[in-house]
Subunit: 229 residues, 4 copies
């Protein structure tokens, strides 16, 4: 039962990550915004949009709460900003796979592995998307750039499929969007729902061995379907 009486307002928890900052910190707009976004990503990922707390974001970012409103209008806008940044990040890393430059079979393998590993490394991306879907993509629909961010991905996958088919390697008539959704689905569901799945099946789905098996299973599944015999 901590007591605070003198001047400082009561703090619920031990002081935040950053030192108490007696004097106002150096003014660096760029940096402040970045820290807010990072903190907000963590917070929204950890608690969802409804469960996220502006107070905690300010604390994590080590900025004054008021500053968040200065830069990001309100909670919802901040959430959209976080979402866009998250999409930008995954799409940008994806681009670096250079799928159009490798042979089709390898391209598919790489895409599956990349997706799996990215989700594994960025669990916050999954919960973020879940939150946005809970809200029926309300925020994303206000985004001007989001669709444009995804056409290259579709084009790339279409190219891979086309090349695979011309080499008489892949089956015909595969819809790239459909396939991409399936590839994402296989990793997304397993990782995003690990907690419930581990509980209901009473099985450690994130153990090292289980992870290797899952990647292998997913690859088999997709290639088993895709590759013409």
């Amino acid at each position: 039962m901590p007591v605070s009486r003198k001047l400082a307002p009561a703090k619920k928890r031990a002081p935040p990550l950053a030192p108490p900052a007696a004097e106002p910190r150096a003014r660096d707009a760029q940096r402040s915004q970045k820290e807010i976004l990072d903190a907000a990503l963590d917070e929204f990922a950890a608690h969802g949009l409804g469960g996220a707390r502006m107070d905690r974001i300010a604390e994590r970012a080590a900025v004054n709460k008021r500053l968040i409103y200065y830069y990001f209008e309100n909670k919802e806008s901040l959430f959209l900003a976080v979402l866009e940044a998250a999409y930008e990040n995954i799409r940008s890393e994806e681009q670096q796979l250079n799928l159009t430059q490798v042979e089709p079979l390898e391209a598919i393998r790489r895409l599956i592995a990349f997706t799996w590993n990215y989700y594994l490394a960025h669990p916050e991306f999954l919960t973020l998307l879940n939150s946005e879907n809970l809200h029926r993509a309300r925020h994303l629909k206000n985004s001007t750039k989001i669709a444009a961010m995804h056409s290259p991905l579709v084009a790339t996958l279409a190219d891979v499929l086309e090349r695979g088919h011309r080499l008489n390697l892949f089956r015909a008539g595969v819809d790239p969007v459909q396939l991409y959704i399936s590839i994402a689905a296989l990793s997304y569901f397993y990782l995003g729902n690990t907690h419930t799945l581990s509980t209901i099946f009473d099985r450690p789905l994130l153990a090292a061995k289980a992870r290797v098996e899952r990647l292998s299973h997913m690859t088999d599944l997709v290639l088993g379907y895709l590759v013409r015999d």
Copy 2:
């Protein structure tokens, strides 16, 4: 023979002005609890655990808010109760597929179709699970019956795979849990993330035609992998 003298309480609570008397609904504990659970399912599904409002649940259930606490300790316990009921529902319908009684190929087809249609008809199940995963299955881990509810499912699928293999139809060495997760994943991600996916791919994923295509794609995918050539 009561011993009390009329001693006025410290501060009389204002007497109710007039009885509303809109013919009070019959007292039925069973029914009240059911209505609360139904309302809570809707509310949790629509807003997540954090966004759900006890007030709205009471309103939807048409019961006094206090009654919720009378039957269900608190919000979290209510959430677990809802979760368990939701799992019970899907597992029970699944059981009625009688997968052990049909030939393996048909069994797999049915399972895929059932999963797809169930999720389509029960979008609340998806958001509910997302919420629970956001909370790292905190509630479910307190459930005593959840794991037991799932062993029949695994056994059934194992039986189907085994029979398919003995008929020289299916490939060997398929892990039923792994496969079940994949089957669920393909529907779950598509339907649970329809809003964001529709937005980023700018495509109406829930249009009648799209739905038919998706079910077909998923079936092809799974059978393409499973069926030995």
Copy 3:
């Protein structure tokens, strides 16, 4: 996070002292009232009037909550009933000291020791009185019998003082009420405030040795004043 879903309402704590009592217990008005009073005494003593919970009283008494209202109108009336019973108890035990039958010096010693031991054995009496004083004796003032219960005590003490004086043992002009209040005060404050006193003086006031010393000190104090040299 206990869950209760089926028919029974949620219980916050493990079942009360008494067994769940599936069938309504034998109808015994006398006994029910006694159990309610006992439970209420404990509860009011432990939490004060404001902090006491009717629910807990019902639980402790192992009767239905509604029954309390049947016998004791409301919380305040119940509190008064408890108070009166408590006073009755101490006065009745006090009476059995037969102070008028022993020599004055011994009578005073006995009264001091009795008071000390009674408070020690009945800490609930102290907190009960504190509660009533917090409420400015609001309940007691409604009592018809309380003053009558105390005149014998005053008479007895007056008699002792008078006899002591006539024997040239005690000083003259001692007001029995004043003296009684002092005797009670010395024990009451020490025992009723043990927790804060032990904390501020950092000393275990209830240790066996400390108790012996206190009784001795109080006796010295009172007799040092009373006894003529």
Copy 4:
């Protein structure tokens, strides 16, 4: 340059109708905290911890209820803050008696009179302590400074007793803590229990005459014991 686009929050909170504009009081953290503490002291003293209402405290302090939580974690922390302030106050006034600078007999007289008058002037101190004892000093035990606040008092009284004894005035072997408790007890019980005592003895204990008599009786009692014949 804020990056936010105007994205309306999920549900706009209704805009305030019109600013009350009764010339807002200057923002003064120190003063706000003081007013809250003062109001809380009154409220806790009047109703006990359980009966105190945060709403009323806010109202009395003329601050927004939320501000209480801004400065004082919660009700319990506020209670401890109030307690500590109360102890600080009495101990500080006591210090100003300069008991070490006056002759022993006078020192004891002064201490008795001071205690009596302080309790008379600060009835809230008594009820506050009663509340804390009801809670078994739960809050005080979390205080770091409380014990330190009391050692000077004990030292002072020890010095007085020692000097009195060396002057062959006081009896030997008197424990200062024991004596202090007795002195406090005599006033505390009389004043803290005035309401019940007046009722059970049917006598106006706070009448001017009664007060004079009580102080005189207490002084006689203590000195009768302390002073060597």
